[in-house]
């Protein structure tokens, strides 16, 4: 197979081998339902309890505050609807304009308020202050933006909300955090936080919602009362065990990896900026996480660039994809005030635990050549 560079870790990461190993027994011999009463069931139950302890330790919370669920989107929905359905008819939810659709759409669905961001993709605190009042019962601001990588000023957000909307619960979509920042630290001031396993070497189909003690949510899924009645349904034991393993590995190697991957990211962006005219780094590096290289390239279109990247063995992404697979200028760039001619040339290259210097070399060979080809032909 031709050399390939996977630079789409913000979309999903390859699973860490130890996470795969942690998962396999529950797909084979340890198959029992963890809710059962017999020894095999207790064995599965124990795996979940151990995983819950590991996750709690990594996130700086009590085990009872960890709710396992299907994925990040479900965690976000549990938070928004779980709060708002208990909050009364006049209650208002607030979120930032660059939230993942898993938060944005639920907040919009409840008729909530959406707060703008600055040109670096950080929530505008003045506008947030304006949006807050006594009717606000939930504020959801993501910790790290999935597209452009901008880190949100969560401590300031929390302080502002506590002051202006003291009854509001605070939720953060922390799905892009764990690989890059100490999730426990980032989420500390928040009542609710969403995590997704496949963003840091765990499996798809496993997520966590942190629910602080004293916070009660209306459950979205009713049934057997698993997860202390907060999320019914037989737990995904294999997924939960693997998520916890990947989370622990990621936390242990984080310090070293952030340096290593940040260096690779810098090499890549510096190299691209040196060879491609009209390339703009969407968010300055000191405002974003180490593994994100989001750039906008003038005079080309994402769809065309991504195809040529793929032909050259480089796998990246652009704006948000709709369910048809079509790429459009993302709501994140629009909210940041990026003009369409620049924003339609967006390319997101994201690093993860499996990235190497060879990936950077490959991308530096392929991307400038692709841009040159499209500019020669004046890509429509």
């Amino acid at each position: 197979m031709a050399p390939m560079a996977y630079l789409d870790h913000a979309a999903s990461t390859p699973m860490r081998p130890e996470a795969v190993a942690a998962m396999l027994p529950f797909l084979t011999e340890r198959y029992a339902n963890p809710s059962g009463g017999h020894a095999l069931a207790r064995d599965a139950r124990r795996a979940i309890d151990e995983a819950r302890d590991d996750v709690a330790r990594c996130l700086g919370v009590d085990a009872g505050e960890v709710v396992f669920c299907g994925d990040g989107t479900e965690a976000d929905n549990m938070a928004v609807f779980g709060v708002m359905r208990r909050a009364g008819d006049d209650a208002v939810a607030v979120c930032s304009a660059i939230e993942h659709h898993a938060v944005l759409h639920p907040v919009e669905h409840t008729g909530g308020r959406v707060v703008g961001v600055d040109r670096h993709g950080r929530i505008d605190l003045d506008r947030l202050a304006d949006a807050l009042d006594g009717s606000v019962k939930l504020v959801s601001v993501m910790a790290v933006n999935n597209e452009v990588g901008s880190v949100q000023p969560l401590a300031e957000v929390a302080a502002l909300v506590r002051e202006r909307a003291p009854d509001a619960l605070l939720h953060t979509d922390a799905i892009q955090v764990h690989q890059w920042l100490d999730t426990a630290e980032v989420c500390r001031p928040f009542d609710l936080a969403s995590i997704s396993g496949h963003k840091f070497g765990g499996p798809k189909g496993a997520g966590v919602l942190i629910v602080r003690k004293g916070v009660t949510l209306e459950p979205l899924v009713l049934g057997g009362g698993q997860e202390r009645d907060r999320r019914s349904g037989t737990q995904n034991v294999a997924g939960i065990a693997a998520l916890a393993t990947a989370m622990v590995s990621t936390a242990e190697s984080r310090e070293v990896e952030v340096k290593r991957l940040g260096g690779l990211r810098d090499d890549l962006v510096d190299g691209l900026a040196a060879t491609i005219e009209g390339l703009v780094e969407t968010v300055p590096r000191d405002h974003k996480v180490a593994g994100n290289a989001h750039v906008c390239i003038e005079g080309v279109e994402s769809e065309a660039i991504l195809y040529l990247l793929e032909k050259g063995g480089v796998f990246a992404s652009a704006g948000s994809s709709c369910s048809s697979g079509a790429i459009s200028m993302s709501h994140v760039l629009t909210a940041m005030g990026v003009e369409a001619p620049v924003g339609i040339g967006a390319v997101r290259l994201t690093f993860g635990w499996a990235s190497t210097a060879a990936d950077v070399e490959r991308a530096l060979e392929v991307l400038p050549a692709a841009v040159a080809q499209l500019r020669r032909k004046r890509s429509p």
Binding site: A304, S324, G325, I327, Q373, P380
Partner: protein, 343 residues
């Protein structure tokens, strides 16, 4: 071997077009254009059609891409469609989509990405006469689509192919069925993709333009009825003209949007001996003299003589609605020699 970007709509014709090119050993990549973001009969973003196209591509073991051309589709197809109605003209959005999207933007994109050209599932062929490429009738005359791609000229046709043009629809469906393609029995699309069957044209336009009620008069100027929206009336129409029934069947013979007056008459009064063309483009050398003329997508052809911008029917024909595409074929009814709009 050459490389083709195949426009796959999710229908049976483009599915088989891709399959045939693949079977011939060409490098083939399928692409579905996302054109319309609003409501449609096949769901938001036509996701169901994209699913069909992608699954067929997987079955054929070719790559499948989705290109988002909604911006151009709006600017070049939908907005002009609304504007034409506002001016009382009869637009053909499918032809404009072919002109501006499939065979312009997509073709340019294909070239930029290094493909030799674009293939589509149209029922038509390419023929060379005097070293000039022309769009030619498809083998299945009942399904022929040369009318809707008539605007393609020599240069473009060098980079376009119509893999199913030499086959009948029946053969195409049988091939799809033999290959086990999920689109084998899918019904043909008939209608404008952005007009839903529930809302219809009137509802679509009502959201995008203001309409005015109009007076219906006969040839003498006597008022015989009223219509709700004069902009939605087309020359040749005979339904929904208000007024009392019982009289001889009346057809629209003229629409004056500015004055909000619709003139009607009996079928005989609709007939004209000649009409003028707008924006006439010849496929090869300009033609003077005998041609065959087609004025609707699946309408009959009638013999005429063309001189400069005037079409003279050999026998009087129904008046062609202004804005309608007029396609000129050679006297053997094999190739497109020119195309224009009815003035």
């Amino acid at each position: 071997m050459s490389s083709w970007l195949v426009a796959m709509s999710g229908g049976v014709d483009s599915s088989v077009a891709a399959a045939l090119l693949r079977a011939e050993g060409h490098e083939v990549v399928g692409v579905t254009m996302k054109l319309w973001g609003g409501a449609s009969d096949t769901g938001c973003c036509s996701v169901a059609d994209v699913d069909d196209a992608r699954r067929v591509a997987q079955q054929l073991d070719i790559e499948h891409l989705v290109f988002n051309f909604t911006d151009d589709f709006h600017a070049r197809v939908v907005d002009p469609y609304v504007d034409a109605h506002r001016r009382g003209r009869t637009p053909n959005p499918c032809i404009e989509c072919n002109r501006h999207l499939k065979f312009d933007r997509l073709l340019l994109r294909a070239e930029a990405l290094g493909f030799d050209g674009v293939a589509t599932g149209h029922h038509c062929r390419i023929a060379v006469r005097d070293s000039v490429r022309h769009v030619a009738r498809g083998a299945d005359r009942a399904k022929d689509q040369s009318y809707v791609v008539h605007m393609l000229g020599h240069e473009q046709l060098e980079r376009i192919c119509f893999p199913i043009g030499a086959r009948t629809k029946h053969e195409v469906r049988r091939l799809a069925s033999d290959l086990g393609l999920r689109t084998a029995a899918k019904p043909d699309s008939q209608d404008v993709c952005f007009i839903t069957s529930t809302g219809g044209r009137a509802a679509f336009l009502a959201e995008r333009m203001s309409t005015r009620p109009g007076t219906v008069v006969d040839a003498t100027g006597r008022v015989v009825g009223h219509v709700d929206a004069v902009e939605l009336i087309t020359v040749g129409q005979r339904r929904a003209l208000g007024g009392s029934g019982g009289a001889a069947r009346r057809f629209v013979t003229n629409v004056d949007v500015d004055a909000a007056v619709v003139t009607v008459g009996e079928l005989g009064t609709l007939a004209v001996e000649r009409f003028e063309l707008d924006g006439l483009v010849w496929s090869g050398k300009p033609v003077t003299g005998d041609v065959l003329v087609q004025c609707t997508a699946h309408g009959a052809v009638h013999p005429a003589r063309v001189r400069a911008n005037t079409v003279e029917w050999l026998a009087p024909q129904r008046r062609v609605a202004p804005g309608q595409s007029v396609v000129l074929y050679d006297v053997d009814d094999e190739i497109v020699v020119g195309g224009a709009f009815a003035a």
